[in-house]
């Protein structure tokens, strides 16, 4: 408005002869006013723009924060899915590798009931049961290692006694020396291989770092052979000092199990010929050892 007034007055002054000095004076008076008004207009306008921008920015920030929160949730879900996918891929790989085993995939019914009520006994519930082909005695494993054995099979669910349970027994073999023993659990969950021979052939039958697998032997603890169990972390003499004992750190974290495989059947164990009794040795190389057979 000030500019308009200034323009009109200037045009009027220029058309009227003889009043140039007046016009000049007027211009000198109006120029600072115009400058002040320009500045004020700019300040107000800038403030309004900044206020509007601030509002928009706040909305944008809020929107972006929501977006970030959604992305974080999605990322967490993706991480879970990725981990689950990797675990399932690993199980699938294990299933492909172990063609001698007939495996049923099972997912544990939540880790909430992963342990027995008292804490001294160690058991899991699975969401597969008789209807899925599971039977009492079936071994349960993952690609990382042996988990346990089904002790009760119901219609749609089953209970698995972990190998860390004090009532559990597993026939095992030390990979490096091929020495065999019996793996037992304990109330604290510690795994111990007992009845390992003392220094056969002058060499220790077990040492720290040795890998432990199922042997597939021992009728009462019948499992498929060569299922990984863990690694030896301590070797000690038995109380009777007649054999060695090895404390084993399991490959499987029993508190973090998500997916397991139930072995419903497996091929007979192929023992070396020299391991068979003389009267049981067939004329040609044997395919199977007597007594070895199916689980479940």
């Amino acid at each position: 408005m000030a500019l308009t007034l200034f323009g009109i007055s200037t045009a009027f002054v220029q058309r009227v002869e003889g009043i140039a000095p007046v016009a000049g004076a007027l211009a000198r008076v109006l120029a600072p006013v115009d400058a002040v008004l320009r500045g004020a207009t700019g300040l107000v306008g800038g403030a309004v723009v900044r206020w509007q921008d601030a509002g928009e920015l706040a909305e944008t920030v809020e929107r972006l924060e929501q977006h970030v929160a959604e992305l974080e949730v999605n990322n967490a879900k993706l991480g879970d899915v990725t981990r689950e996918n990797e675990a399932l891929r690993a199980l699938a790989g294990f299933r492909r590798e172990r063609i001698d085993l007939d495996l049923i995939g099972a997912s544990i019914q939540g880790m909430a009931i992963a342990r027995e009520p008292g804490g001294l006994l160690h058991a899991l519930w699975l969401d597969v049961g008789i209807a899925d082909g599971v039977a009492e005695g079936d071994p349960v494993t993952t690609n990382r290692g042996l988990v346990g054995r089904v002790v009760r099979a119901h219609g749609q669910s089953s209970q698995v006694r972990l190998i860390s349970d004090p009532l559990a027994r597993v026939g095992v073999r030390i990979e490096r020396t091929q020495s065999t023993g019996i793996l037992v659990g304990s109330p604290s969950g510690e795994l111990t291989v007992r009845y390992l021979p003392r220094d056969p052939d002058g060499a220790p039958s077990v040492a720290v770092g040795d890998l432990v697998f199922t042997s597939g032997l021992a009728d009462a603890t019948h499992y498929p052979q060569m299922l990984p169990i863990g690694q030896v972390i301590e070797v000690r003499q038995s109380d009777e000092r007649t054999s060695l004992e090895a404390v084993v750190w399991p490959h499987v974290d029993f508190n973090a199990l998500a997916q397991v495989l139930v072995v419903t059947d497996w091929d007979p164990i192929a023992l070396p010929v020299e391991a068979l009794p003389a009267d049981a040795q067939p004329p040609s190389a044997p395919d199977a050892a007597p007594g070895a057979g199916t689980g479940g």
């Binding site: 992963a114 009520p117 008292g118 006994l121 004090p166």
Partner: protein, 169 residues
């Protein structure tokens, strides 16, 4: 407490033990709600009702356990008897007494259960570190959860009425 109410309470305790208690695990140890309830009930209502709750709760866990029958009912029953003896020694009937009896009951139940595991052919090594690894966490969790279990049971006991007069143990 009548048989129906006792049955309902046992079901609630067993379900809570199988579903809720493991979620409350700290470093692998979680509370034994039926045992806690049995100790509280023994203090609040007397040895007979406490024993019924202990054995009933133990049987409910036996049914859900992978172990042979009796692996929970016998230890809980033994613990209830021990707690009844402890209760008979004093006239106090409060939270402090109950807390002390919870520790005693945890030890008694654990000792009997370890004995049963050994009797069943299980591998049990009686070492000092087992006390630290097994008993201390279990007793601590039971003490923590006593604050959750005791108040509703005390309210229930008050609603039912005074404890039945009995002869000592």
């Amino acid at each position: 407490m009548g048989p129906y109410a006792t049955g309902a309470l046992l079901i609630v305790l067993a379900v809570a033990q199988l579903t809720l208690a493991p979620r409350a695990a700290l470093d692998g140890a979680f509370p034994s709600l039926p045992l806690l309830a049995a100790v509280c009930w023994t203090v609040l209502r007397g040895p007979r009702e406490g024993l019924v709750l202990a054995i009933g709760g133990g049987l409910a866990l036996d049914l859900a356990s992978s172990a042979p029958i009796g692996m929970y009912s016998l230890p809980f029953g033994a613990a209830a008897v021990v707690v009844s003896g402890g209760r008979a020694l004093t006239n106090a009937r409060g939270m402090l007494l109950t807390a002390g009896l919870v520790v005693v009951a945890t030890a008694a139940a654990m000792a009997v259960q370890l004995g049963l595991i050994a009797a069943a052919g299980g591998h049990v090594v009686f070492e000092a570190r087992a006390v630290w690894e097994l008993f201390v966490p279990a007793a601590a969790m039971n003490l923590i959860w006593l604050a959750v279990v005791y108040p509703p049971l005390r309210r229930l006991a008050k609603r039912i009425g005074g404890p039945r007069l009995e002869w000592g143990l």
